[in-house]
Symmetry: C2
Subunit: 157 residues, 2 copies
Amino acid sequence: MDPCSMNLDQIDYKILKELQDDARISHQELSDKVGLSASPCARRIRKLEAEGYITGYGAQIEEAKMGFGFSVFVSVRLDQQVDGRLVEFEKEVRLCPEIVECWLMTGSFDYLLRLSVESLDDFERFLTRRLTKIPGVASIESSVPIRRVKHQPARIR
Amino acid sequence: MDPCSMNLDQIDYKILKELQDDARISHQELSDKVGLSASPCARRIRKLEAEGYITGYGAQIEEAKMGFGFSVFVSVRLDQQVDGRLVEFEKEVRLCPEIVECWLMTGSFDYLLRLSVESLDDFERFLTRRLTKIPGVASIESSVPIRRVKHQPARIR
DNA sequence: GATGAAACCTTCACCCC
DNA sequence: GGGGTGAAGGTTTCATC
């Protein structure tokens, strides 16, 4: 399952946690926090990147400030569970900027989406003009969140 | 709604997009991409940070490599919708490392959680020993995803 | 918005345990 | 094998235009 697994120690986990919180921390400051000097600290980071533990570094953008403060969860069921339908649907999903997250689910074989839109009006427009027009979409169920209580990008041991 | 809104132009949006993809890009390279020189580019970044458009920078960690490659969505309904119950539940949520995401939902007034666990066994343990033990939890419904089709941290105009 | 100098950070070869 | 040191090169920052 894990072709290139190396054994991480407590220092590695600490480095990952610190970098998850602040990707722009300097090697020097980071090395102080984890109890190492800058050079071996940098070496460990490079190794974590090369082995795929760290996949990238991203700026966290405030969606609400972008004008997309309104999220909606949408469950979508397709009328046929054939592979072609899934491929076609997923292709459309990737093209919609409103869909910020999409999961293929077991069970009733449908998709869970999170949309990021400006308003309820905006959501309705997207629903009627775009989502329902995708071939194979059989039924749609929406849930509106009040607020995000917790959000942790990834769990670290 | 937006106390400190400044008008962003196309260059600002481009800067945000580039930084979302690669927070560690140098000001020099970024300035080339957006058609500016390094110094005004850095000024814009500082402004975007100060005004709250950029809330931070984070390393992206591969959960699967951490041993938590298994996600489960869980819908939780509480037996009472009184404020105290919500506060208590949310306090527990923040303490559980397995819960990586939590939304308070409208409608049936419950929570949508995403768990990050090692395995189905691990999930069952968490469910029976911890989640069902939280006071006020009336019912739980789980959905297991097959894979994440799309994941965009935040939508940018 | 651009330039250039000072301060800072990253990187690498090298040494040590 | 992994950790420390120091010098070279690159990057950020700031005053200035």
